[in-house]
Symmetry: C2
Subunit: 426 residues, 2 copies
């Protein structure tokens, strides 16, 4: 009975959150660019001003997490400090300075009957964001949804509930100062996981889009259960292909950077494909660089014949996103075989070719069906900031709506605005 | 045991369809604009050449439908004749003549580090289209997916299985003549409804998008069950708002056309909102026009006070898509009340304002959150052909990917093509 009652109470609370978000979405849709900028600038200042409060809340989260036996790398993710709070505030300011994505005229034409048709960018409406323990997502996601004129329902991990709450309070101050509804960014405070399930059901039609931001477990659950559209970032099984016409210096610099700059990011390379014609000339020095940098090499027989320290790669290796200092290396016979490998094993995230042959590069970039394809550049550029988008909420790996980095612009949709002079349809 | 075996056999068959589509999608992605045009022109000619075959197949479908007691309006939808076959062939030619939507450069910029980033339109991949008894969808949907470089899996209603099969054979001839895989347009021939369920599960990752085309029952089932993205057209509960500054002649012409030109289309007006200030001056002649044209009027008390023959509208009327010669009419006090009514009861499809006040029109079009908003034009313009898109597969009412008319361009996604000179990320 208690369970039933508390479930009812939670459901009522969550439905109220949804209804408030829908109402806030209308005010946000009509908010001016200036109001949104003011809200963001005030929020950034409020984050700085609340530094001590945020740090106190974070200490309490960390103590609770340690007491519950959370492993150290996860505690690190949860932890805030002066620098991380300053980075968060700066991030909000960067989003504030972006051009307003709402109201952009994406296309406009006139029909023979005189109808003037414009395709105009508009906010999506209510965006639900479900994330894990990083408390900074509260500021990042809040800022991007605010900039794009949406209302946000944020649901962070229960481990970071105090930290996220303190950051959320600062975001709310920004909204208030700009005369925007405070409910434009709501933070779901309950640690009851049933709240996530309710969000995935759409809160009675009051959520237009769900964005999961976290590991495979979270994303998988969201994709399996959501009854509303999901903008998901699945894994980044990224490839670097050294073509027979690769420049050696570029090959060495790009392969090393793509794998080792940061191994834990989704744009890190996981598989290296080397053309048989340059296996000794290019492959060997590249593999030596990687090994020297502390990377474990897992290669096929051809690779092991030129680089014997490599462990034998299994079928499983071609399918693995290590997110670690390990790389799978395969010898391929030409461009077609490289493309076929990526088609079979890749995750349609980010793939690069290193070559001085422009025709081969264009063929590769045309045929590889990934969100981002690169020619002579590191896969680690797969990032909204590096693309000039200011900030991102993730890298979309689906085909619908937005592929690649999802920034403020990608959190908009569009409408057709048709201006007539009394036209009727024959 | 039989059931189990036949289920297994169907599953194997459907998975093979999915795998063949995925393979065809790669060839289609790389098909040239010329190849696709040739395929479509040949298909149009093949439809004309196969006229007798298609009519024979259609006669068999109709006999079976009549024998099974299908109601006359549904038999009408199923029926083909010389004119309808010619219209189908012409439709395919119109799509052939459209500009190629694949490869368009949607944006391009250079980063300070010299990276050249382009956002380029690409096909989505494999599109599953689930429809009902209209056999012409086989040609329309096949042509649009072909033009946009996608592979299609078509699943029509079992009532039209013979007609659709004959049309599908003509489409296949086009693909063959252009050197494209015949499996780029597959038609699922089984009448087993379990095949639809399998498509909604995504055929082992081999369907990227499902488009339902049919009534509420079909669309509802697809939206509830699909495990892959859905581009759905829900109902069109469209409004016409006569503002206090409406021109009388325009008000009369637009209201009559929006409701009565064709009552069965999704862009037909279902509710008329009349500003109290012009209820007598404009409302009365508009309602008289509608009544004279055979439209049933259901109004609120204010409307009935100026137009007594109107039946009293109930709350239910504001929520009803009649698709018939019936209109709900409400008197509102100004623009804000009109917008609030549309926000509460509308379906975010198509809504129009009639006014000579430009500021009021812009406010209306900015605030009404619908796929199409019109100023001084009939809601019946909600149509891909009328927008100049050549053809459409439906009008999207969701917020993600494509809103409004879905033509060949809307059946594409994009990728980022990044050209470098050896850049690595610091």
């Amino acid at each position: 009975m208690t369970v039933h009652n508390s479930g009812d109470a939670l459901a009522a609370e969550m439905l109220a959150v949804g209804a408030a978000a829908r109402q806030a979405a209308r005010a946000m849709r009509e908010a001016s660019a200036e109001q949104k900028t003011r809200a963001l600038m005030t929020a950034a200042a409020a984050i700085r001003a609340a530094k001590d409060k945020i740090l106190d809340a974070n200490r309490a989260d960390i103590e609770a997490a340690k007491a519950a036996g959370m492993p150290t790398p996860m505690v690190d993710r949860l932890m805030l400090n002066d620098a991380r709070i300053e980075a968060m505030a700066k991030g909000v300011e960067v989003v504030a300075a972006l051009p307003d994505p709402v109201g952009r005229e994406l296309a406009r034409w006139t029909r023979p009957n005189g109808l003037d048709i414009a395709r105009v960018a508009t906010p999506i409406g209510v965006v639900g964001i479900i994330y894990e323990s990083r408390p900074n997502v509260t500021a990042d996601a809040g800022a991007l949804t605010l900039k794009s004129g949406n209302a946000a329902i944020l649901r962070g991990g229960s481990d970071s509930i105090r930290s996220a709450g303190a950051i959320h309070a600062a975001m709310t101050q920004g909204l208030k100062a700009a005369g925007l509804p405070e409910t434009a960014i709501q933070y779901v405070k309950t640690s009851d996981r049933a709240a996530v399930g309710m969000m995935l059901e759409g809160l009675d039609g009051n959520i237009d889009l769900i964005i999961p931001r976290g590991g495979k477990g979270l994303t998988g659950r969201v994709m399996a259960e959501a009854r509303v559209p999901v903008l998901a970032h699945l894994e980044g099984l990224c490839h670097v292909y050294l073509h027979e016409a690769a420049d050696l210096a570029k090959a060495r610099a790009i392969a090393l950077n793509a794998k080792m700059r940061r191994t834990s990011v989704c744009g890190a390379a996981e598989t290296l494909l080397i053309d048989r014609k340059v296996l000794s000339s290019h492959g060997l020095p590249v593999l030596a660089d990687l090994a020297t940098a502390g990377c474990e090499i897992r290669g096929d027989d051809a690779v092991r014949s030129v680089f014997p320290p490599a462990r034998l790669a299994t079928e499983e290796d071609w399918r693995t996103e290590y997110l670690d200092a390990i790389i799978a290396v395969r010898c391929v016979d030409g461009l077609e075989e490289a493309i076929a490998h990526i088609e079979t094993y890749g995750s349609h995230h980010t793939d690069a070719i290193v070559t001085e042959d422009a025709a081969a590069a264009e063929k590769f970039m045309n045929s590889v069906d990934s969100a981002i394809v690169l020619w002579n550049a590191s896969t680690q550029f797969a990032d909204g900031g590096e693309f000039g988008m200011g900030a991102e909420i993730g890298i979309g790996t689906g085909k619908m709506h937005a592929r690649g980095p999802v920034g403020a612009e990608q959190l908009t949709t569009f409408k057709y605005v048709v201006r007539g002079t009394g036209q009727t349809r024959p």
